[in-house]
Amino acid sequence: MSPLKISWKSLWSKPLSSALNIMLIAFGTGILTILLLASTQIGEKLDNNAKDIDLVVGAKGSPLQLILSSIYYIDFPTGNIPLKEAQELARSPFVKKAVPLAQGDNYQGIRIVGTDSNFVSIYKLKTSTGKFWKADFEVTIGSTVAINQKLKIGDTFFGAHGLTGSSDIHKTHAYKVVGILTPQGNVTDNLILTNISSVWKMHEDHEKEEAAEHHDHKDHRPDQTGHNDEKEITALLIQYRSPMSVVMFPRMVNQSTNLQAASPAMESTRLFSLIGVGVDTLQWFAVLIMLIAAISVFVNLYNSLKERSYDLAIMRTLGASRGQLFCIVIFEGVLLTLAGTIIGIVLGHLVLQLIGNYQESSQARLSGFILLKDEIYLFVAGLAIGIFAAVIPALQAYRSNISKILSKN
């Protein structure tokens, strides 16, 4: 009968107060686990997706919205820009690579993006089967799209107008899957890629249909009339040629054209600092819960020690040393907090997975089934809280004068 077993049995003999303590610890640890996992994943996603893109050029509006729509494919685009102006910028000596993007359609909520081969090289894409899109209406799909939508090579589907919803389907042309990408761990897993002219052609016919229905309909989408001058794209991703461009190019875009330049790095930092306030608040909240849990464990042990001082004295008369009594009390604290920590970490993972399942945007989906090295700190914290809460009662058990306790009875 080791001290550990005695502690264990003692906890089981008062299940309600033990459960309350475990729940408090589990709740605090759970929140911390979710925060840790979520902020790590969001940070990683932000970094991964914007890795090789130095600047995004798009229509005037919110720079954050421009970044969200053209790098993370979350928000709506700010508007369209003339292809001609975009091409001029792409030819600038500051620019190493320029990737045009044309958005406007979706398939089951997955964005269909018209782009060119520079997209492949900037994201370093590879196909696991099939090839990259080439002719009109050929698409290459991300790995997650292939799994979730059960699409394989040779399958065809119709795109729907807009970035979400499937009420307005382009029935005139079907897209045909010609390739599936290897998993990249970034947004491209959740995209359908095609060439720009497919997007234009899709809308060319669509506009005709719509024009027939609503004669006064005003054009607001990537245009289609066949002349380069009037053609439009959604945004242009830019990779700089030299560090000098960082200073010169955005200013040039913002001053000399009617377009807007936004830096993914800057906007991501801004976005993260906005989320950060919420994360900080929640973090303090969780720490507060942990503190309350620590006090509750302390009170629980301290009170039970009063009841048990006679028990502990009896143990001494049976040959237990002061050290063993100290250990029995410490183990009780540590067992409580350790159980709470483990339950909290498991719960945190499950809840985050649940949140991920209910998330609408597939691009920012969070996963609970990821183990982080930092979670070991949560364990250490749980252990430390247990020892911290138990140390005063344990010292009392260690110091108690058994002759006094026994003669009181």
Partner: protein, 209 residues
């Protein structure tokens, strides 16, 4: 086997009490008689190594017990002295058998289930082995506390007021049980009491005045 020499104890209110020398031989059964407040419990605590006397020495089987370190003394007590308290006081979260096993492991003796069964059987409570203390009657609990005191075959068995809360019939039975167990385990027995009913059962008496 047990002797106290010129032992004295000082209470916190500066009251000092001296105990006359006492020599107990192996296997003897003694009565420690004294009114409440005469220092009975104090002397028992000194004898069992719980309370260090202000002066004097306690020797047991050739060991001067207060020259041992605190840890050595705890272990010595666990192996050589069995104590029966006025009230049973078992650990509530452990079963009867576990309470006895705990006594074995605190004395750093190997876990011996055969011995546990043997002792419980000799006291007629083997059927309650896996029950919790709250499920037993007072009489049964007292038997368990005797079982716990003799589980490690101590050389000295000490009982503090074992009969004070019992009626005549049960007091007699408890006393017989103690004497029987001390004989069975070849332990020297000391019964401390103010209960005059017990007197006749003992030939050796150490009286506190």
């Amino acid at each position: 086997m047990v002797s106290i020499k010129s032992v004295a104890h000082s209470y916190s209110n500066a009251h000092r009490i001296g105990f006359k020398d006492w020599e107990i031989n192996n296997g003897e059964q003694w009565l420690l008689l004294g009114e409440s407040g005469s220092g009975k419990t104090t002397l028992l605590h000194i004898l069992t190594g719980i309370l260090k006397p202000a002066a004097g020495a306690v020797n047991m089987n050739g060991t001067s017990i207060y020259s041992l370190s605190s840890r050595e003394l705890d272990q010595f007590r666990g192996r050589n002295i069995g104590i029966i308290f006025q009230r049973p006081h078992l650990i509530k979260s452990l079963t009867i058998a576990e309470n006895l096993i705990m006594a074995q492991s605190f004395a750093r003796l190997p876990q011996d289930l055969k011995r546990v069964n043997e002792v419980l059987t000799s006291l007629g409570i083997a059927a309650k082995k896996n029950s919790y203390p709250s499920e037993l009657s007072q009489g049964q609990l007292q038997r368990v506390s005797i079982a716990r005191a003799v589980i490690n075959k101590p050389a000295l068995l000490i009982a503090d007021e074992p009969t004070s809360s019992l009626d005549d019939k049960n007091a007699q039975a408890a006393l017989e049980l103690l004497q029987q167990q001390s004989g069975l385990n070849q332990a020297t027995l000391i019964v401390a009491t103010h209960d005059k009913r017990v007197k006749d059962a003992f030939t050796n008496t150490y009286e506190l005045k």
